[in-house]
Symmetry: C2
């Protein structure tokens, strides 16, 4: 595998933008990423675009990339529409990395976007919930499941119960994860939520499912993110060769209840081996905190701590900005927001910027090795798709 | 680029299967393709799946591959959901070819499926029409466009007018293309329509748009198709190394009205160059006859004849079975059927079988070099996506 560089990275603010059509969000991210990479549309040899719910939300079932990129000057090159639920755009990134590593292209544009907010929240929830096998969802939650809420919060809550998260210490850790990520989000100009929250506010907020309050759950969001992947030759010619992709792992969940190791563990193992990097080498992590419970579990699944030690990482400050291993300095899904198809690309944009030292108040000092984990959908008791990427300077 | 082999190929019948859920169709195609390749699910290292309208038709907006393949024993490997309208599964094939050619995998499963039929035809048409930029469609055809018909037939009809297809000779050629493809379909046990039609029947059938009668337009269909792509090492070990992929081209349309060369021409040029094969080397072609007008235009766009000579090819028998260059021996979209996300993979299955001499009554004798062309969606006056593949023995 040849080296692959991230030569450009950009994203819109994440938030609730009822007045902005998807194309408007995508155009902003693409324009800024091309500018960041110091290239023009004519330099781009292929475009791979992740979006999860544009069919149910906007009715644009097909050729979403061609429609969203129509005014960018990119039409003509191979365009591939990729979907893997909340891992759609990290899957697109995975494909882009493979194509550049193989020597197929010198310059690939990867983008992700989502317009999930709608005056009718029922529509948003239904679209979001279609990241589960619909037959399985109806069997598990009843025929009318998912019209008034995200069933994913129930699924995460049941993970909490399985993992014993109902005991007081763990509930406090779940709350602190939310406090931490909102603290980080307050430092991120592109975050959906820029207000600090206290532990008391988090714990006393409206209950959504199991131990999860609304402040421990990711919101409905809109946004777009874009990255430019390049070969060494291309990157060096432009002087945009600081951030390297060292590993790109994608797996699907096995679907059979209780299969071990699960998707995250398999993807992480593959990425660590492929990058010759271990958890102790990491300086900064963006992970898929769809809920606080997810982040707590991911500490272990990514081997950031010993089994059963997850809560400690947030209680003792390790995963806070300023700690030994800041996790979700962007604010994560909880505070930066979770525009499904843009989330994975957004994590990678954050890490590219961290490795370039461009993150201002939320900069992780001296960040040289970074990991992104992104999960999408649900089969049985596991993520339907999981990606783990390692980037380094 | 390393050699890539098609080691297994299978498809369901195409047709109208109201009682069969998508998963049932996919399972049949996957099981038969694995069997054809003489492998088990454990041999498959990645799965790339094309589907176009499962969100609007079945509500399964996301993780369609994971849901459709759930019972095949394939869950666990990287799974990628790919969409490019009617070119969805040939785009998946393109990605699979790239991955094997790059040495990333030795064995990749590519599948395409669609369940487009529904008791409510309005739903099918709306889903189908969402392969156009919806804003453009409403601007062109009015706010209620596409509820009662496929606007693609209108788009193709306008191509006919631009190309002068309203004159008597060309209308007869359009009719003969339908007669030919229904003749071929009658020889294909997996075709949706297995009845011969006469020129008089075609020309006097219900008018759909412009010169197009209903027998000159592809139907609404369901179906699935699957291929196993392998490296030389893997293919030779299994003795499944007869069919090689010699070129895999994908482009997007440029979107600006009248851009030349158009997507088909660019993809074809790229494929011919890449395969070191010219139009005169071809023994058999499967092309995207969404309407008779499309097939007539494609004769020229693929350089199967000189400009203006398209009609001759069908009138003098060249493109009929038994002629010098049979086109759409499967029956094509017109007679075999057009289950959007399965169509491209279905074309490639037909060609793999032709090159292996397995096509019975519709076998093209001595077929050694084959071309597949598949188009998807619409931007401006061009296909949103177009693939051209060259396969050889």
């Amino acid at each position: 595998m040849d080296e692959v560089f991230v030569s450009g990275a950009a994203m819109t603010s994440f938030g609730r933008f009822l007045e902005r059509p998807p194309r408007d969000l995508v155009e902003e991210a693409v324009r800024d990423a091309l500018s960041d990479a110091q290239i023009t549309p004519a330099d781009v040899q292929a475009a791979i675009v992740g979006n999860a719910v544009g069919g149910l939300m906007q009715g644009q079932e097909s050729i979403r990339a061609q429609v969203a990129l129509r005014n960018t000057g990119l039409l003509g090159v191979p365009m591939i529409n990729v979907e893997n639920a909340c891992a759609s755009s990290s899957t697109a990134f995975h494909l882009g990395v493979q194509a550049v590593a193989a020597g197929t292209y010198d310059c690939v544009l990867v983008a992700g976007y989502e317009k999930l907010s709608d005056p009718d929240k029922t529509k948003s929830f239904r679209a979001f919930n279609a990241s589960m096998d619909l037959d399985e969802m109806r069997e598990r939650f009843g025929p009318e499941a998912g019209a008034d809420r995200s069933v994913f919060m129930d699924l995460y809550a049941s993970m909490g119960e399985d993992g014993g998260a109902e005991d007081d210490g763990d509930v406090e850790a779940l709350g602190l994860i939310s406090v931490k990520n909102h603290h980080h989000g307050a430092l991120n100009p592109r975050a959906q939520f820029r207000e600090e929250v206290t532990l008391e506010q988090v714990l006393s907020a409206r209950r959504v499912a199991g131990p999860l309050t609304v402040l421990m759950c990711s919101p409905l969001s809109d946004g777009a993110a874009c990255l430019v992947l390049t070969s060494p030759r291309f990157a060096r010619r432009r002087g945009r060769d600081r951030v390297r992709v060292r590993a790109s792992a994608l797996v699907s969940g096995r679907g059979d209840d209780g299969a071990q190791p699960d998707a995250v563990e398999r993807a992480a193992r593959h990425a660590y081996e492929s990058a010759s990097v271990g958890p102790t080498d990491l300086d900064v992590v963006e992970l898929h905190d769809a809920t606080s419970i997810a982040e707590l579990h991911l500490y272990e699944q990514l081997q950031l701590c010993a089994p059963g030690e997850g809560a400690r990482l947030v209680v003792d400050g390790t995963t806070w900005l300023g700690g030994a291993l800041p996790v979700n300095p962007s604010g994560g899904l909880l505070a930066r927001g979770h525009p499904i198809g843009a989330t994975g690309a957004g994590q990678l944009v954050e890490l590219a910027w961290q490795l370039e030292g461009r993150c201002g108040d939320r900069q992780v000092e001296g960040a040289r090795t970074a990991l992104a984990q992104n999960a999408g959908g649900w089969v049985g008791t596991d993520a339907a798709a999981c990606t783990v990427h390692v980037l380094t300077t």
